[in-house]
Amino acid sequence: MGTENNKGYPKFPARPAPSSSPYASAPPPGIPPPSGGPPTGSDAVGFRPFPPSASQPIRPFTPSGPPPAPQVGAMRPAQPSPFVSQIPGSRPPPPSSNSFPSTAYGPPPPPPPPPGAAPFQRFPSPPFPTTQNPPPQGPPQTLAGHFSPPMSLRPQQQPMAPVTMGPPPQSTTSGLPGANASPSPADFNMAARPGFQQSMPPVTPSYPGVGGSQPSFPGYPSKQVSQPPPMPFQSSQGPPGPPPVSSYPPHTGGFAQRPNIVAQQNLHPSYAPPTSNVQGLVEDFNSLSLASIPGSMEPGLDHRSFPRPLDGDVEPNSFAEMYPMNCHSRYLRLTTSAIPNSQSLASRWHLPLGAVVCPLAETPEGEEVPLIDFGSTGIIRCRRCRTYVNPYVTFTDSGRKWRCNICSMLNDVPGEYFSHLDANGRRMDMDQRPELTKGSVEIIAPTEYMVRPPMPPIYFFLIDVSISATKSGMLEVVAQTIKSCLDNLPGYPRTQIGFITYDSTLHFYNMKSSLSQPQMMVVTDLDDIFLPLPDDLLVNLSESRTVVEAFLDSLPMMFQDNVNVESAFGPALRAAFMVMNQLGGKLLIFQNSLPSLGAGRLKLRGDDPRVYGTDKEYALRVAEDPFYKQMAADCTKFQIGINVYAFSDKYTDIASLGTLAKYTGGQVYYYPGFQSSVHGDKLRHELARDLTRETAWEAVMRIRCGKGIRFTSYHGNFMLRSTDLLALPAVDCDKAYAMQLSLEETLLTTQTVYFQVALLYTASCGERRIRVHTSVAPVVADLGEMYRQADTGSIVSLYARLAIEKSMSAKLDDARNAIQQKIVKALKEYRNLHAVQHRLGSRLIYPETLKFLPLYGLAIIKSTPLQGGPADASLDERCAAGFTMMALPVKKLLKLLYPNLIRVDEWLLKPSADHDDLRDVSNRLPLAAESLDSRGLYIYDDGFRLVLWFGRMLSPDIAKNLLGNDFAAELSRVTFQEQGNGMSKKLMSLVKKLRENDPSYHPMCFLVRQGEQPREGFLLLRHLIEDQMGGSSGYVDWILQLQRQIQQN
């Protein structure tokens, strides 16, 4: 162990030594150990701070004592005292997190303890007068079970390490079998352990018996005060054990290894130790009491207490603290930040193991990714695995060599990059080199990374001008929007632009800069497409600006009398491909009807109800004609990214059209039944966003990871060029990609695994760049730890993608069942982990980190692509939503799955003049019909739509103020606009704010009044996912269903 620790330690040189914080705290009254030494923790319990135990006088937390054990000697020297020095500044010791860092990193024993003198501290024994429960002697688990130790104890009582308090612990035998040599803990835990064991003399007999409460512990008087539980959802069932008098604080969800420590569900909800920050205190697991027989609602079954993500997505941040040099979680989120160390462990983890990557995620102001130019040095990369230099590489040999963190290869440092190392082995120039301190950097690529000069941004428009397009007003909106965006297209002055329109024929436009008006050329031969002009179909925008503007001005007029109903989509696509294949670029397709002529002609599908429910059902959701996949593959090859805008109110076979977007890294926008008066704003905003957002061109992305693991499958909109290279012709901040990994070796021997995402792309300004995100996660040997580090957001994101993919090859039912099965399996495994020691009865238990998983699982099942049967959503809607969800970043997906529902009428009535106090309305409500009060006004926001729900009994004043004189009319005909009074302004500002929160889509505003069927059902009620509707279960039923399946063996 000792060696392991030594080995591991140098790897994290920059990390503040958090572990040391405990020692920094004020020295407690040190008392030489009288009787029984402090319990040496089994690995599990050892360093977790214990609540003062009644029977146990001594608090053994300090690792300060010189270890009597032989290992100790070995490891001591290796662990230098420098830690101590770091202590003060490194990090304020939040008590709750103490245990975590210390265990994780194996804090070296405090600096200069002479082996002979054991400096460990103990608490005065007298303070524990009562033992309420004679504790069973024995396995730590039980002990643990009874307690969740308050974290705060430690810091307060922790003595200053260097202070020698007394003789070294006399007894080294630990009462807990295997305590000294426990094989299984997570790696870093192991490393830490030796120190601890040494320092704490185990007291066998007395130790386990901590059952009761100690009223007054010198250090913490306030402990007794129970506070409102941090975690609202605790079981209401009685405690299995004797109820402890005092409340035990929940333990931290940190890294302490405690496979067997389980917090009792019946813990007194809370107890926040005085000094602790509450958020650090997290239950080991939560449980829902479901004692009732399915169907009957017993009092124990309080669905109001079910977990709901009303605070939105919570990003896992424990790792951001632990590894400050990791890239931000907005770029890379692992499904669990603890990688299993063996295949068998991985197979017991039934949740997906992988990551969600959003390489270009928008950064908040001031956090831009630093741009680095290596100049003539060339980019520093590992010779063997091609990893880019990152904060986790280590420099050795006085700075002449560096060791790759991913493959451990020793590389030479080029002369220009050489820098001396200081005493700690850090490079002297660390501060000037962002690539050595930041997890996310952008590197300017030299010529070797270019197969051709950087391409200019290219936008090509393929516009359907058949009768439906002109009638719906789409053409006009599109022309206006493009024109208004011309100034904001990225990449001036190199930007190129071109147009083709089509109905039953193709129309090309010569926009040569010397012309004053564009020339239109019509090609009617659809079977043998040719370009009427070699050049000038794709022109430089800055040169041909006037021609382009003239064209856009006249476009709606040109076709306003068009009565052509045909759509030669396939040939038009081919023509566009021929124009673009020299340079690539972005192709925007505006399609209004089912492609009916030439190659790629599509048939009406999906109107045969008999197909549904059979094994052939899935065929409706995939492209029928191989033409589309072939075109998509060709386009990707030539760096053409396709975005599809579909407008028809009839069937347009989005499944086929969307294929184009799917394999070219694009996106599908669907506006069913487009009417410019209704959807105009939405189209305008979304098209403008599509045209003006920062885009990365001709990109490829690869994610590398350490030896022994491998990314095996990728999910999202892209084309795989080789086994692990994602080709992304055009990528932007609104696209995320998910991937799953698997273990190649049966046992991982490293302590950490590194991940590096590299995106090589051409920026709009013509620079070729590489964006590199690096992240690290520890390897663990314990399933419980994996659960503790799980990230619901990315798990849900992966699940959603898997389910949608499954729906492309199987029945919807199967896809839904698959999700359910996966959740059941995961929770069952978790239950097995804990059920042995506890009488869980009919409680559903789940880790704190996954408390929302069941709900999100339900939401996935009820999401548009997967919900219900053929009648619940049209085929096109399903497919469009599917394509969209495949590309959504985690946060947006979670919002779509569990939308915001907020009540606003009270807020509107409040007289405050300040429009910015939107915090008052951030109160999210559960998505159930019972949240809706008929006297209220509610906003439902899923990021794609805003629904304003007017209760039937809503005060007419409000309605009148908001809607003007139409307030009594049918709301489907009312347009929502500002009425010129304060209340209306306030609401509009709220709507605007909601829209600005997430600019990637423009949520349309719908108004609906309670009881206005069927609109109400369609717009809102159907999306209240906690309710039961048409054959699908509500939240309560769902939980019961899960529970039933979990208990079946």
Partner: protein
């Protein structure tokens, strides 16, 4: 007809700009680009110092001019008038120096002046057709003398570099080997000396020893 155009810095061969859709319709454009890159590399090593040169390659011909440490190179059909090609390069040079002049030395990344490609594109079109009035008049214009410009073959040009490399490598090898030879010779000398005198020394040693023993014993 101009097929492709590249602008690079001579000092280190860093590409600065390139025509936009160069190599369109050209089956082996990649091969020619490789040749151009090799040529730039040669130039950056200080060879081929002629500031104007034509280099034949297959059915095409490279023309380049070097001015202000920047090399302007274009690839044309062999039939394309040399005069026009150099006129074209002159035009590019003038504009490039006007726009980017001060920044050329400090450019650090490849294609730092990629924005220039729009101008290349535009100018190229002017020179595309040799029969336009403008171009014919240029052809007839005797002001610009292109006859002295040397024409060589690409193999030769690229070969020169290789040969020079070979020679320098050979000479360095020679130095190395001669040094080795000297060392060895010295070593041999010493060995010969030892071989020659060792027996004598041994005999003498034995004799002296005997003498010494004798004196001691007696």
């Amino acid at each position: 007809m101009v097929k492709m155009t590249l602008i690079a810095r001579v000092t280190d061969g860093l590409p600065l700009a390139e025509g936009l859709d160069d190599g369109r319709d050209l089956p082996d454009s990649d091969m020619y680009k490789q040749q151009v890159k090799a040529l730039f590399k040669n130039l950056s090593r200080g060879q081929n110092d002629a500031s104007r040169m034509s280099v034949e390659t297959g059915p095409y011909i490279f023309h380049y001019i070097i001015e202000g440490r920047v090399c302007y190179l274009t690839m044309c059909d062999r039939s394309y008038p040399k005069k026009l090609a150099f006129q074209y390069l002159e035009d590019l040079k003038n504009e490039f120096e006007r726009v980017n002049g001060p920044n050329i030395e400090t450019a650090a990344r490849p294609y730092a002046f990629i924005k220039f490609d729009t101008f290349i594109q535009k100018t190229k079109k002017l020179y595309q057709d040799t029969r336009t009035q403008r171009n014919i008049s240029k052809l007839n214009d005797e002001l610009y003398e292109v006859h002295q410009i040397m024409t060589r073959n690409v193999q030769e040009v690229l070969g020169v570099g290789e040969k020079l490399d070979q020679v320098s490598e050979m000479s360095s090898r020679l130095t190395l080997e001669s040094r080795e030879y000297a060392d060895k010779a010295k070593d041999l000398n010493r060995q010969a000396l030892i071989r020659k005198w060792a027996p004598v020394a041994i005999v003498l040693g034995v004799v002296f020893l005997l003498f010494w023993v004798k004196t001691k014993l007696w």
